[in-house]
Subunit: 166 residues, 3 copies
């Protein structure tokens, strides 16, 4: 079972889900897809403000301390001046994995040309794959659906649970 | 109305259009698409030689001094040794926006596989979106047509005139 | 005639082909495509271990000393911790040429969604185009087939044998 973590950006830094609230938040979409489509377990969830240093710190803790196999971020990938999740991600990965971000933009653009505005990146820190997702539940679903079938094999290779000939 | 600027590379540094000349230059194609399809205004136009430092200086002046919302460059994106517009652009942006360049290559390749040779990049400096276009009028048209419908919304978010949930 | 070179990564650093062996190795697929589809000549072939420094040294020697027009690497582009060919490539190129890698992932993904796992990059050092290919013969064939028709023109522009208006 893959150990997955989520990082969400929120300008007001409020947790998006409280008991009894409707559950159609981006975090809930990620949780459902990870658990039901990937058979993964969400081991940690953070909501941090749109500050590069704070996002970097959250990503580093979830990789180096929690040893997540996969971190899915949501939000902060747009063009607004406060959107810095890709920059935080690029600052802490040691290898790029551009195919996931490219595939998501290409797949999402087939439905919504506006998807070309996403600045999402994807890369690797140690043995953790980090993938940026958009902030909206609809965007999360459209993007994650494009790549989720490939994630179990990707994580198996990255973590050494499966051989590869790449 | 969006404030747009153009930067053109020319090995001989000649202005491509003089009074009375035919107007099918790349600059004219950009001007028409920006004015007619985007309702934008061209506030500045520079032709600089294929020198990285000179391109950087022109981009910095058009962002920091002219406060353009959008800069469209034309030329210098090929494989020839003199082509350094992407390198100049990467040197002065503070955030990448890879979706525009990816979408243009993907869209143009559907018509002309040779479009894969384009080394164009797209990024953000401050509140200015900078997008590299090829040098030929045909290439400019094929590439700009792929993204132009998304530019008004992109610029509205980037400049803070419109909210976003990315 | 284009002067082409190959670099292959191999965990055990064994030459993949000995006299009398079956010839369906990745190197053989590259050789056939380069000679038959491009009319190119393989001037050098190296197999190096999956070590960033050794890959960098091989790429530098094949560009700066052998003056190859094109270097095709095979292997080391996956997600496994030992896969560092893209990092070695990025460290020694002076200009990026992202369209080849994007086109290969997009083309290969149409057949095999798993192609999104490829971390291949493409760039230029001096007057040498360097393109990463996957490690498997099937992956090499699927990826190289997407771009090979564009390579003669690309190399002619890069090496100055042909004019360009990019």
């Amino acid at each position: 079972m893959s150990r997955c973590a989520m990082e969400g950006c929120d300008p007001d830094c409020q947790r998006p889900r409280l008991a009894g609230e409707r559950e159609d938040t981006s975090a809930q979409v990620i949780r459902e897809l990870v658990e039901e489509e990937m058979g993964g377990e969400i081991i940690e969830y953070r909501v941090v403000p749109d500050e590069k240093d704070e996002i970097m710190a959250a990503l580093i803790e979830m990789t180096d301390y929690y040893n997540a196999d996969l971190i899915l971020t949501t939000g902060g990938t747009g063009l607004a001046p406060r959107d810095v999740t890709p920059e935080a991600t690029l600052s802490i990965v040691d290898r790029l994995a551009p195919g996931f971000a490219e595939a998501m933009r290409q797949g999402a653009m087939a439905k919504t040309p506006r998807a070309m505005l996403s600045r999402a990146v994807s890369g690797i820190r140690g043995r953790t794959l980090i993938i940026n997702l958009p902030g909206s539940p609809k965007g999360v679903h459209e993007n994650l659906a494009v790549i989720i079938d490939q994630l179990p094999h990707a994580l198996a290779i990255l973590t050494g649970r499966e051989g590869d000939h790449g």
